[in-house]
Structures are given as C-alpha cells and as structure tokens.
C-alpha cells in the first residue's frame, strides 16, 4: 500500500503489481483549517439523530406504529448503505474494474457490507478520458471509459459510456493521477499534454 499522497489524502493507491493496482477514493471531507488532513465521515450525524427521534415520536406519541416503523426501517437502510469508497482496479493486460463499496460508516466497521463490481475487459475498452458534465446543480469532471463490445455477436457501433467514481466525483487532480496511471498501464502510452 502506498501511503496517501499529501495533497489528496482521500486517494489511496493499493499497489499489487503485476497482478493489479487499485485506485481507491474514500468518501471523506478535508478539515477546513487548511492543513488538508483527513476527516472521515464517521458515526452518526445530526440528520440521523433527528430522523430517529422523529420516527420514534410518530410511533409512540402519535400512535402510528406502521409509519414510525417504516421510517425506522428507512433510517436503518440509509445508515447501512453509506458510501465508504469507490475504486478503479486496473488489471494489466486484462482490463478495468469499477467498484463501489457501501456499508456502515463507524470506527470499528472497516469492511463494507455491500460491494458492487463491474469488470470491463481490455478488448472492450475503446478509450479512457476525462470530460465535464452536469449532475444536478453542478458541473463536475468525470472519468469516462468507452466500452465498445468487440464480441462478434453484437453491433459494432454499440458504444457505452461507463463512469468511474460515479458517486464520489473526486476533483480533477485525483482524476488526473488515475487517468495517467491507468493509461500508462493499460495502453502503455502517456499523455504529454494534460488536456
């Protein structure tokens, strides 16, 4: 494991070459005093507490057990599916894998409860690039992988756009590190201009 880089502590590079290299971006915010230290989103927030208390209130005081129970179940679901990290695993000569890890964000729960993984084989990868796009009220940089299925059964023009780090949306500097390294490992070329 390479230690976290100084400017972007949320990016962790797990180097296990020649098998794989994983670029993991944790869901955290930086402390606001400018020292760029990590502050993970641990524990219970004010929103969770208020959600809990409102649902208990509806259950007991207002005597709507079904509604209160439903709200409690929703709260439990939300607390168990918090976003922990997203990563892009580069497997040399094999392809890419996009992973999203969700679970309980508490100090002693290190392993995620749910992980979704999607693998893209190397023959299918047409290109990797960074582009800007709209998401809700903001414009973000995103890392896109063009997947063109090269199987003879499918239509050759069937182009799909897969996004890495879709839910976390890290800043451009993190994306650039991942972009350059992934291109170098997969395609053995390095972009000289950071376009």
């Amino acid at each position: 494991m390479r230690p976290l880089s100084d400017a972007h502590p949320e990016l962790e590079i797990i180097d296990n070459l020649p098998l794989f290299i994983e670029y993991r971006v944790y869901n955290c915010s930086l402390t606001k005093d400018g020292s760029n230290r990590l502050r993970r989103r641990y524990g219970v927030s004010l929103r969770d507490v208020s959600h809990f208390s409102v649902s208990i209130y509806i259950w007991t005081v207002l005597h709507y057990p079904l509604v209160g129970g439903l709200l409690l179940v929703m709260l439990a679901h939300a607390m168990c599916t918090q976003l922990l990290w997203e990563s892009l695993v580069v497997l040399p000569d094999l392809g890419l894998q996009i992973e999203t890890a969700r679970g309980i964000s508490m100090p002693f729960f290190t392993q995620p409860l749910f992980t979704s993984r999607a693998f893209i084989p190397l023959e299918d990868i047409h290109d990797i690039l960074i582009n800007e796009g709209l998401h809700r009220w903001s414009w973000y940089y995103y890392l896109a992988i063009f997947q063109r299925p090269s199987s003879f059964k499918r239509n050759q023009l069937d182009l799909k756009l897969r996004l890495a780090f879709k839910d976390i949306l890290p800043p451009l500097a993190v994306l650039r590190i991942v972009y350059h390294n992934a291109r170098q490992i997969l395609f053995h070329n390095v972009q000289t201009r950071g376009a």
Partner: protein, 451 residues
C-alpha cells in the same frame, strides 16, 4: 456570452456571438458561452472550434428557441459556471433572451462586495482582492414602444438593464431606441455595428450580363420582414419590365402568400422560390442577382444588406430603422414602406443597373473596408476596459435603483432581488464553494493550433 440563441441554431444573433467570441479568443481572452440545451443533440458541456466552451443548461424552451423567464431556476447553474470558470465579464445578447437578462440580474451576487456583506463561506484569514463581475448587454433589434409586445418586453428590459455596466447597440437608431425603451443612462450606451466576413462574400468572377435583371430577396418570410410589400410590388414590376426575374430565398409563415401571388399572376417562370437557404449557400444565391431587395418593416442594422453589397449587388431597401446608416448613398436606393414607393425605387435601380452605372467589384472593395470583425472586436474590448475601471454598485444602491422602476414593477423586482439573495445564500450552504470543480486548464489558440 449568455444568450438563448446560439448554435446549433442558425441566425444573425448566433452568428454574431460566435464570430465575436472567436475574435476575442484570438486576442487572448477566455470565452465561455451559456445557452439552453437541445435534448436531442446538445446537452452538458460542448466545445466549439477554436476553443469556445459552450454550457448547455437544461431549461425548457418555450417558443422560437427562447426559454421561459424563470429568474431563480437559472441561478444554481449560472453560479456554478461563473465560479468555476472565474468569469469576470458577463455579456448578454438579444432582448428576447431570458438567459441574458437573468444573468445580468444575478451578476452582483458573485462579486466580493456581496461576499463581504454576507459571506460566511470565506475561509479564515483568506482575503479576496476586490473582484466584481461586470455586465454588458448587446441589443440586436428594434422594438416599438406602443404595441403589446413592446410594452411588456420593454418593462422587463428596463428592469434587467437597471444596473448594467454597458449596453452595446448595433446602430445609432438602435441606440436611441434602446435608451428610450429601457430608460437607461445614455452615457452607458455604445454603438458598435455588426460586421461581415468579406472573404465569404466575393462577387462573381465574371460580371453578370444585363439582358435579364435578377432581383434577389433572402429573408425569413415573416410579417415584420415586409413580405406583404414584396407580394404587392412583384407583379407590378414583372408587368412593367419583361426582362426582370425574381429569386426568393428563405421560408417562413408568409411563404403561402408568395405562392398564392405567383399562382394568381401566373409568374411561375419569373419568380423562383428557393426555400430555406443555408448560411454557407447565401453567397451562391446572392451572386446570381443584380439587385438585392429588402422590404423589412423594421430593421436595426441589416447585415443582409451588407452581405449583398459585398457580393456586388445594388441594394434597394425600405427606409426603416438603422438602414440609412449602413451604406453610402450611391450603393443603396431607399423607398418608403409602401408599395408605390418600392416600385419607384426598383424602377430607378433597374435603370441604374441596365445603364451599367453600378460596378460590383468596386462595391465589394468599398464594403470590405467599411465593417470588419477586427474593428468590432477592438471596440468591444474598449467597452470592456471602460467598464472594468468603473466602481461597482453595492447592494444598497442596487435596491434603491430597483425600487425606482415604478410602483408595481419596482416592488416586484425588489422582492425578486431579496429572494434571489436568500436563494444564493442557500445555494452557498447546499453546494459549498470548496466542492466545486474549478476549471484549471483552458483551450488557448496555441493548443488549438498544435492539435
């Protein structure tokens, strides 16, 4: 550049914005265009050669490519664009574009003046140098002050231009019209005409023979372009001069009137209707004509006249709006906007062309030097330099000026201003500034040339 009307839509305003942006880019400025999205083809962020970034904001189009004026729903996207691109000047175009008016109304929120009054989001110890967004508005059209459209849109325009830093109009007549309509300080109104790329409008290599005189008309066939005058005068001219042919390009709601006139007078072989003409085909149509006829009932500048003069046509036009300012008197023949005078003017024009007194190549040389895009860009830069030097208005002055709009409109816009400030503060909480993906790299002319 903020406007509803931008490419892929084709039109005079769109062309003007694009060519102006390209020339500003060539002189080293950074240009970003904001327009609405076309759900089939243009969404998100696109790039136009040679390096203009176009943001397509997902707001619904109401009619003829203009969005519904929704003052607050545009603010989140505009805020993000202005902050991430570090924009310093907002330039709005076209009075009918609600994006442009809203962008000018919202511009004061992004500056350091507002931030110093309400900004909790400033980091400790970080001092911003005084950075205010300046606004410029370009008006491309004339509006009447007494009809229904005029009364409504003029009030909206007056409210939007209440606190604008500079207004650019395309002719002196347009400047007077805008100053009266929008009740702005005349010292903030500049006149910068539009221009034409002369290389795209060269006259034909061989002069046309004057055995048949061809009269060319290219316009959108709508009421305000005076199609009724054309319909009335064309049969008379065809009857008086057997050697005259008409060539009509463009389409629109009044096409049916032209077709009916052609049927009624049996002029199918004298009047040719070309339908909608693409912008790159306009020159090929214009070179086939000796005379260009413009019968508009209202025209602020008339770029079509300039294009035709460049191609070597003799111009016949109605004397409306800013048309008398465009060309010197010996290249153009004026007519009052009624049928008899149009016929008289055409008669005189045909006489001049038949006698060979009009030289297309000399006309091209003269028109080439009159209006150039370098001139327009330089003058626009002067306007930008002027407004950056001015002191910005703070929120208190802005509130007072808004209330002075009138008993009803003033109060309504004052309430909109307050709600807009509150919404902006809400946005600062919901989408904090450190989460915004700031733009660090831009296309420059060098990188474009490399590619």
């Amino acid at each position: 550049m903020v406007c509803d009307f931008f490419h892929p839509n084709i039109g005079g305003v769109e062309n003007h914005i694009y060519i102006l942006s390209v020339n500003l880019l060539r002189r080293g400025h950074k240009v970003v265009a904001v327009t609405h999205s076309y759900p089939d083809s243009r969404v998100g962020i696109r790039w136009l050669a040679p390096g203009i970034k176009v943001y397509h904001v997902p707001l619904r189009v109401l009619v003829s490519n203009a969005t519904l004026p929704n003052y607050l729903t545009f603010l989140p996207w505009l805020r993000d664009i202005v902050l991430r691109e570090r924009i310093t000047i907002i330039h709005g175009h076209a009075s009918l574009s609600s994006f442009a008016q809203e962008a000018i109304l919202h511009s004061h929120l992004f500056g350091s003046g507002f931030e110093s009054m309400f900004g909790w989001w400033r980091r400790n110890g970080e001092q911003e140098e005084s950075r205010e967004i300046r606004t410029v508005f370009t008006d491309h059209s004339l509006f009447a002050l007494d009809d229904a459209t005029g009364i409504l849109t003029n009030k909206l325009l007056a409210a939007a231009l209440n606190n604008v830093d500079a207004v650019i109009c395309v002719s002196h007549t347009a400047r007077e019209n805008t100053v009266l309509r929008a009740q702005i300080d005349p010292r903030t109104a500049y006149v910068i005409p539009s221009a034409v790329i002369a290389e795209q409008f060269k006259p034909p290599p061989k002069p046309l023979s004057t055995d048949t005189i061809t009269i060319v008309v290219i316009s959108r066939l709508a009421y305000r372009k005076g199609v009724d005058l054309l319909v009335a005068s064309a049969p008379r001219i065809c009857a008086l001069f057997p050697q005259v042919q008409f060539l009509v390009g463009g389409s629109g709601p009044k096409l049916i009137n032209l077709l009916q006139m052609r049927e009624a007078h049996r002029l199918q072989d004298r009047i040719t209707l070309l339908g909608a003409v693409d912008h790159h085909d306009v020159r090929n149509v214009l070179v086939q004509g000796h005379i260009y006829l413009n019968t508009s009932l209202t025209e602020s500048f008339g770029i079509g006249l300039l294009e035709a003069a460049c191609t070597g046509c003799f111009i016949v036009s109605t004397r409306v709006g800013g048309v008398p300012e465009v060309l010197p008197k010996d290249m153009i023949e004026f007519a009052m906007p009624n049928e008899d005078d149009v016929v008289r003017a055409l008669r005189k024009a045909i006489a001049i062309v038949t006698a060979g007194k009009h030289d297309p190549y000399r006309a091209h040389e003269r028109a080439k030097s009159m209006y150039t895009w370098e001139d327009v860009t330089k003058r626009t830069e002067t306007v930008y330099a002027d407004i950056v030097k001015k002191r910005p208005t703070d929120l208190w002055t802005r509130m007072h000026r808004t209330l002075r709009l009138g008993p009803f409109a003033g109060l309504i816009y004052f309430i909109i201003l307050l709600v807009e400030c509150l919404f902006f503060l809400f946005l600062e909480w919901v989408c904090p500034r450190d989460q915004i993906h700031y733009v660090e790299e831009d296309w420059t002319m060098e990188s474009f040339k490399q590619v």
